[in-house]
Each structure stands twice: as structure tokens, then as C-alpha cells.
């Protein structure tokens, strides 16, 4: 963006401030130790060079010294560990009211889906001052979604979902990189994250032709792909009713129970026979290879919203 020489990256998220604070703490404390070592190296080299004649090979080697000098580094790393862990756990634990955006990585591009159905490629528009959560998966190899200005990254894996979140604090355009080596054009799997004011964002989101929302797209797929023939809530249906399924505890035919989270839904669509809901025959066909990651996301988004009409308590 700005081609002049930089020494410090722009900080544009709440996390960036946390990480930078930790960074400066590190620089000061460990810089002290580094300078100490270099200082002593220089000092001893000068003071105890052969010509200086301060030789004493028999001086004491006290035990307290050995233990004593191990303690400050121990204390430093303890603090770094605790502080670092706090920042890390927070970055990977999204708040529940976050705006959800879906990311699919693919050799060598980023595909973004917004809940209202808007799609972008190699670009991500987000509002300022609002928690945004990315739910990410890959269609082929491992990628890694990395926004230096947010000091945030996480690997994007094929076959499962990972997530992370941020809250942007500065409008502007920022780099988006793929940080996990993924083949030929790894270094071209880059894009731009644009942070906009809330109003600009609304305008941007609403602009363009009227789109089907993700949920609506999921509903349409649900009908098109004939899921509905088996999952329609009717007593004679061959598949279980999916209303209220999401987030509930499912009993399986082998006696185990699982939580119907996104990974479970995903697996149920792609590999239905792996976990069989109790009381049903393993007749659901696999949809592996027939649905793209984006379609699966839409289907899950649809099923997720299929809550029992009035039952508030149906989801935990």
C-alpha cells in the first residue's frame, strides 16, 4: 500500500494493541537480557584479556549463583507464558454476538461469503468497531488466513472448520496474506481487508443486486437437493426431523452421544453413515463431491436457523 520503508506494521484491531503491548514488554525485558549478555561478553573480553593480568582460575563457583541466575529468566518466561496465553485464548474465542463471515480457501484464492449472501474474492469488507468472526475451511490443502494489521492468523484446514475473530479499530485497507505454504502461487494468494465505518459498510453490503441470503440459499439447496424428501418432519419420513437439531445432543445407534455442532452437520452431509442417528436406517446417500464448500456452508447455515417455532429452550 504505502511503498515507503516501514519498520512497524499498522495496528488496526483491538487484538493488535494487545499483541503490540506484549511485544514491547518482550522487547524491554528480553532486550535487557540480550544486552546483558552482549555487555558482559564485551566487558569480560576487554577486562580479562590475557594482557590484563587479572587471572584467577580458582575463584569460587557458588551454588547460590547457579540457582540465582536461573530464577530471573524463569520469572520472565512465566510472565510471558501467562500473558501470551491470555491473548491467544481470547483471539480464538469469539464473542457470541459477533458478525459471522465465512471464508473458503482454495489454491490460490480466498472466497468470502457474507451472511446476506454477498460474495467477494480476495477481498474482505468489515465494519469498524464490531466483533467479526471468521469461520474458515479449505477446499484443498492447508492455507492460513493472515491479516498482519490485525496481528491475527489461523490455519484454514480442509475437512473441518476453524475460526477466529477480531474487532477492527481503524478504517483503511490492509494486507491479507496466505501464511501457510500451499503450492505454486502461495505468494499470490493475497488480498485486501477493507475496514469501513458502520454506515459505509451497510451501504456496501446492501449495494449491488438483491441477493439471496446465505440462509435462503441453504433453503433452496435443501429443496433442490431433495434433502426435504427425507427431512420434512412428517411421521413417515425416512430421515430425522432437523428442526431444533443444531446444538442439541444426539444419540447415535452405537450408543454414543454427540453434540450436533457444525462439524457434525458437515460430516452428516458428506459422510452420513459415519454416525447414525438412533432409530434410523443408514440410508442417507453421501453428498461428498457433489456440494462445494460454499454450498455446504449455506446448508449448515439454513439448518442452524431451523429452530423449533416456539421452543426457546430447544437450544442450549
Amino acid at each position: 500500500m504505502r511503498p515507503e520503508l516501514q519498520f512497524f506494521p499498522p495496528a488496526a484491531s483491538t487484538l493488535a494493541n494487545d499483541v503490540d503491548l506484549l511485544f514491547w514488554f518482550f522487547v524491554v525485558v528480553c532486550g535487557f537480557f540480550g544486552l546483558l549478555v552482549f555487555g558482559l561478553l564485551a566487558l569480560f573480553s576487554a577486562r580479562y584479556r590475557a594482557k590484563a593480568q587479572r587471572y584467577d582460575p580458582n575463584h569460587a563457583q557458588p551454588l547460590w549463583l547457579e540457582i540465582g541466575w536461573a530464577l530471573p529468566p524463569l520469572a520472565v518466561v512465566a510472565v510471558l507464558f501467562v500473558w501470551g496465553a491470555k491473548v491467544y485464548v481470547e483471539a480464538y474465542t469469539p464473542p457470541s454476538e459477533a458478525l459471522e463471515i465465512f471464508v473458503t480457501g482454495k489454491q490460490w484464492m480466498w472466497k468470502i461469503q457474507h451472511p446476506n449472501g454477498k460474495k467477494e474474492i480476495n477481498a474482505l469488507h468489515v465494519p469498524l468497531g464490531r466483533a467479526v468472526k471468521l469461520t474458515m475451511t479449505s477446499e484443498d490443502v492447508i492455507h492460513s488466513f493472515y491479516v498482519p494489521a490485525f496481528r491475527l492468523k489461523r490455519d484454514v484446514l480442509p475437512g473441518k472448520y476453524t475460526s477466529m475473530w477480531f474487532e477492527a479499530t481503524q478504517t483503511g485497507d490492509y494486507h491479507l496474506f496466505c501464511a501457510e505454504y500451499c503450492g505454486t502461487d502461495h505468494s499470490r494468494m493475497i488480498g485486501r481487508v477493507t475496514v469501513m465505518s458502520q454506515a459505509d459498510y451497510e451501504a456496501w453490503l446492501g449495494g449491488g443486486e438483491q441477493l439471496l441470503s446465505l440462509e435462503e440459499r441453504g433453503q433452496r439447496l435443501f429443496n433442490q437437493r431433495a434433502c426435504v424428501t427425507c427431512h420434512n418432519g412428517l411421521p413417515e419420513a425416512s430421515g430425522p426431523d432437523l428442526v431444533g437439531l443444531f446444538g442439541s445432543e444426539r444419540r447415535l445407534s452405537n450408543g454414543e452421544t454427540v453434540t450436533a455442532d457444525v462439524d457434525y452437520l458437515r460430516e452428516s452431509i458428506l459422510y452420513p453413515t459415519k454416525k447414525i442417528a438412533v432409530g434410523y436406517a443408514p440410508v442417507m446417500p453421501t453428498f461428498a463431491g457433489q456440494l462445494s464448500e460454499e454450498q455446504i456452508t449455506a446448508l449448515i447455515e439454513y439448518m442452524r436457523t431451523l429452530k423449533a417455532p416456539e421452543a426457546e429452550g430447544a437450544t442450549p
Binding site: V19, F33, L41, Y48, A70, P73, G84, I142, P158, D185
Partner: protein
């Protein structure tokens, strides 16, 4: 006394290629390794040079993406598996261990020779992989890219690494048995040189870690061959499992790469400070602690990989713990210099460089082990800078220090000391220029394994490339004068540095059976009491 009959030393005892290729003398095998390993260093270095040229500009102007990807992959594979892992242990360790123990050879001389052949065959496969189009997976072989998507010579390279692994294992077994069973009378555990302790710890890692890498690569090969999903999710596997298995070896392996170097530094610091080492037992035990704890931290390479957050936290804690024994070593080295009578001969200059660069590399390792920071700098140039500081800044320095220190012993010749000092300083300066800017680049967010990059990163990359060129020349200089010394160098004395340790008690170069009379040991290793190096007149080092 020094002028031994040339035919009785191990170099002159037999002549011709055959006598080398069929030797079972650990000293000759050590020299064979020295040649092999150094050869691979320059191959790896050549890849690095091309890479740094390419990275001097943001665009792709020297090579295409696919070529660049092959360059860093081959560079990483050659440098780690064919150079750094065997570097000090297999060459100098091989040469010195029996000498330091007062033994006539390693416990299993045939196995030792076999390990060299295994190593060379493995190397051949890897070089073949490069020759037939290269491999583009990175040295980490991450799945499912390596197992399903890459269409380069993954198989050849994996087989090459698989095979070299066995040479490490054989070396490790050989060293452990030798250290346990073949010490000279009176050479108790706490009289062992710290070089030996370091190699003991290293060997443990080689024996217990390497086989896991072997089986992991085998699984990747099976998956590639049959198209069955061991690590590919679209076929039912889990890519993160590969990472666990890979790092179970490859993290401990980084200690294979640094512990022998630390052993070298312990020997050199005490010799040139003319003082007994400070905290002998602490240095010895910290080697062991590093080897053992080193097996518990592999998950720090996977903080952002989708590994469980709890596992990340646990691995971070253990990572922090493993840095304390390293700190203990650094402080003990410094304390050894305290009140010494320091002589700045070339090995010492390299050793001081080691301490400084290892400290920076180690501290930035702690930076990476801090979860909140790794979030940002994982897979950026910060990581690249971290490990080059330790692997190149520290270990290659130690390798050079060791070569200079023991060169008179190995070949019986002295080298021009002023050139050696000059090269040491040049390597240090070139190194800092090459790799310090990469820390800044990393925090700025430049991802590693990037062939092209945004314009604003160019300035720092140019600095780095410039530094790398200086560094490269710095590495070539010792090649010239060391090889030259074989022809024109003066004869070296048995103990030109006035050092302690059994290897200095025999002639330079040592006789075939290492000692004229089997040595016995009384007293500690590092009994330096004299502030001056007492050099017999005929062996003062050639200056200039």
C-alpha cells in the same frame, strides 16, 4: 616427541581411495563425513544464494514461482537433514569421541562406516530429487499438499530423508554405547569433557526421535503411492496428525542441531579463557535436560494449526521451561570468562560469535513460544530469522569454531591465523546484516516462502540479500586457507592451543590406534591453571 613417524599416523598409515572407502577407523570416517557434510553445506548455500538474489526485488524476475518453491524446499531439506543434523556429531564427534574417551575406536566401527554409506546414499536420493526437477513441499512436507497435491519429486526426497535418518540412528547408538562402555580407566562420568556430554544428549534424541520421522515419511509415501487418505481429509485422514508426528521428531531435531555446538563452545571457552569451566555439572545436566524436555514441546510449531487451544497452552508452557537450561549454559560460559586470561585466537572468536547469536536466536525463540506473539509472527520471516540465528549464527559458527580448533589435530597442519580471524569477523558481520532485517520483516508481516512480496518490504530484503553475499564470501575464505594449509601449512604440535583433554595428549595427527599407550585419567578435565598458552617453539601459529 612430537615428530612421530608419518607412517604411524592415521592419515599416512594407508594410501589410496580404497583405504579410505573401506576404512573402519573412526578418524577417517570422521574425515569422510567432514567432506560429505561440507559438500552439502555448499549445495544448500547455492540454493540460498539464488533465493536471496530473487528476493532482492519484489517481483518475480530471476525464477518462476515453482522454481522458487523448489529452491527453498531443497535448501531446507539439504541444510537440515544433510548438513546440520550430521554436521558436528558425525564429523567431529566421530573423530573426537574415542580420543576424548581414551578409546581405540567407537564400539561398532563397521556400523560407523555403514552409517556414512547410508548417509551418502540418502544424500544421493535427495540430490537426485533436486536434479530430476526438485521437490516443492518445503522441508516440512506438510500434508495434504505433499501427499496429494504436489507434483514434484516428493517420493525421491522423502526416501532420501528416510534413508539419512538411519545413518543418524546408527551414529546415535554407536555414540551411546561407546560413551557407556569404552571410557579409559579413571574417566568417570563427571570427568567427561562437556563435548562428550553434549553428544550423549544428542545421541539420545537421534535414537528416540528419528524413527518417528522415518515412519511418518513412509506413511506419506504410502499415501502418495496408493492414493489412500492417511493424512488427507478428503480421504478420511487428518492433516494435523502429520504435523504432530513430524514435529515429534523435528523439534527435538533442532536440539540435535545445537547441542553438539554447545559442546564445542564449552571446550573452546574454557581453553581460551585458560580457566576451568564454570558450573561443569550444570552444563552437563542442562544438556540432558534440553534433550528430555525437548521432546515435550513439539506443539509450539502448531499454535495456529487448528490444534486444540488447550494443547497450545500446554505446549507453550513447556517451551518456556526448555529455555531455562539454555540460559544456564549461557551464564556459565560468561562466568567462565570472568577472571580468565582470554586469548582471542580464531576458534575463540567464533565461539564468542556463537554465544551472542545464540542468545538472540534463543530469545526470539521465547518470543515465538509466547502464544499471543506467535499468533502474529508464525510463518513469517520472524521465524526464518529466529532459526537462522540459531542454526547459522550459532551452530554453523560452532562448526567453524570446531574445525579451526581441531584442524591441527585432525590434519596435523596449522592455518594462517589472521585470515581465520578476518573470516570470522566477516561471517559475523555478514550474518547480522543478512538476518537481522528479517526480524523486522517478520513483525511487519511478510510471510515466509513468498516468492513475490509487497513493495514496502523491498528495502529490508535488499539489506538481507547484501548481507547474505558477504556471508557467502565469508564462508568461502576458510575453504581456501584450510585446504591450502594441507599443502603448505606448518606441521602442528600435539597441543597447539595448550588445551586439556585426552585428544591433545596424543600426536597430531593421532596414530591409528589413537594412543601409543592406553591413557588413564586422574583428576578433572578442565584443569587450566596457567594464564599463558605454552607453545613449543616450532609450533607457534603462522601469522598472516
Amino acid at each position: 616427541m612430537i615428530e612421530a613417524n608419518p607412517a604411524s599416523n592415521y592419515l599416512g598409515a594407508a594410501h589410496g581411495l580404497r583405504s579410505w572407502l573401506l576404512t573402519r577407523d573412526h578418524k577417517r570416517i570422521g574425515v569422510l563425513y567432514l567432506l560429505g557434510v561440507t559438500f552439502f553445506f555448499f549445495i544448500g548455500g547455492a540454493f540460498a544464494v539464488l533465493m536471496r538474489f530473487e528476493l532482492a526485488t519484489p517481483e518475480a524476475d530471476l525464477v518462476a514461482s515453482d522454481t522458487y518453491n523448489r529452491l527453498f524446499s531443497m535448501h531446507g531439506i539439504v541444510m537440515t537433514f544433510l548438513f546440520l543434523v550430521p554436521s558436528i556429531p558425525a564429523s567431529l564427534g566421530n573423530f573426537l569421541l574415542p580420543l576424548m574417551l581414551g578409546a581405540r575406536d567407537l564400539a561398532f566401527p563397521k556400523l560407523n562406516l555403514l552409517s556414512w554409506y547410508v548417509f551418502m546414499v540418502g544424500g544421493l536420493f535427495t540430490v537426485a530429487a533436486a536434479a530430476f526437477g526438485g521437490v516443492d513441499t518445503g522441508w516440512t512436507f506438510y500434508t495434504p499438499y505433499s501427499s496429494t497435491y504436489a507434483n514434484s519429486n516428493v517420493m525421491l526426497a522423502a526416501v532420501g530423508v528416510f534413508i539419512t535418518g538411519f545413518s543418524s540412528i546408527l551414529t546415535g547408538v554407536n555414540f551411546i554405547v561407546t560413551i557407556h562402555k569404552m571410557r579409559a580407566p579413571g574417566l568417570t562420568w563427571f570427568r567427561l569433557p562437556l563435548f562428550v556430554w553434549a553428544h550423549y544428549a544428542t545421541s539420545l534424541i537421534m535414537v528416540l526421535g528419528t524413527p518417528v520421522l522415518a515412519i511418518t515419511l513412509l506413511l506419506v509415501a504410502v499415501e502418495r503411492l496408493l492414493g489412500v487418505g492417511i493424512f488427507d481429509p478428503s480421504l478420511g485422514g487428518d492433516p494435523i496428525l502429520f504435523q504432530h508426528l513430524f514435529w515429534f521428531y523435528s523439534h527435538p531435531a533442532v536440539y540435535i542441531m545445537v547441542l553438539p555446538g554447545m559442546g564445542v563452545i564449552s571446550e573452546i571457552i574454557t581453553c581460551f579463557a585458560r580457566k576451568p569451566i564454570f558450573g561443569y555439572k550444570f552444563i552437563a545436566f542442562s544438556s540432558m535436560a534440553i534433550a528430555v524436555l525437548g521432546f515435550l514441546v513439539w506443539g509450539h510449531h502448531m499454535f495456529v494449526s487448528g490444534q486444540s487451544v488447550y494443547a497450545g497452552v500446554a505446549f507453550s508452557m513447556l517451551t518456556m521451561a526448555v529455555s531455562v537450561p539454555s540460559a544456564i549454559k549461557v551464564f556459565n560460559w560468561l562466568a567462565t570468562m570472568f577472571r580468565g586470561s582470554i586469548v582471542f585466537d580464531s576458534p575463540m572468536i567464533y565461539a564468542l560469535g556463537f554465544i551472542g547469536l545464540f542468545t538472540i536466536g534463543g530469545l526470539t525463540g521465547v518470543f515465538l513460544g509466547t502464544l499471543g506473539l506467535d499468533l502474529h509472527v508464525h510463518d513469517t520471516y520472524f521465524v526464518v530469522a529466529h532459526f537462522h540465528f540459531i542454526m547459522v549464527g550459532a551452530t554453523v559458527m560452532a562448526y567453524l569454531a570446531a574445525i579451526h580448533f581441531w584442524w591441527p589435530k585432525i590434519f596435523g597442519r596449522t592455518f594462517p591465523e589472521n585470515w581465520a580471524k578476518f573470516a570470522a569477523l566477516m561471517v559475523f558481520a555478514g550474518f547480522i546484516l543478512a538476518f537481522f532485517p528479517q526480524f523486522v520483516l517478520g513483525y511487519l508481516g511478510m510471510p515466509r516462502r513468498y516468492h513475490i512480496y509487497p513493495d514496502e518490504f523491498q528495502m529490508l530484503n535488499v539489506l538481507s540479500s547484501a548481507g547474505a553475499s558477504i556471508l557467502g564470501v565469508g564462508y568461502l575464505i576458510p575453504m581456501v586457507y584450510l585446504l591450502g594449509s594441507l599443502r603448505i601449512g606448518k606441521k602442528a604440535a600435539a597441543n597447539p592451543w595448550g588445551a586439556k583433554g585426552l585428544e591433545w595428549k596424543t600426536t597430531s595427527p593421532p596414530p591409528v590406534e589413537n594412543f601409543e599407550t592406553p591413557p588413564t585419567v586422574e583428576g578433572d578435565v578442565y584443569e587450566y591453571k596457567n594464564p599463558h598458552v605454552v607453545r613449543p617453539p616450532e609450533v607457534t601459529l603462522a601469522r598472516g
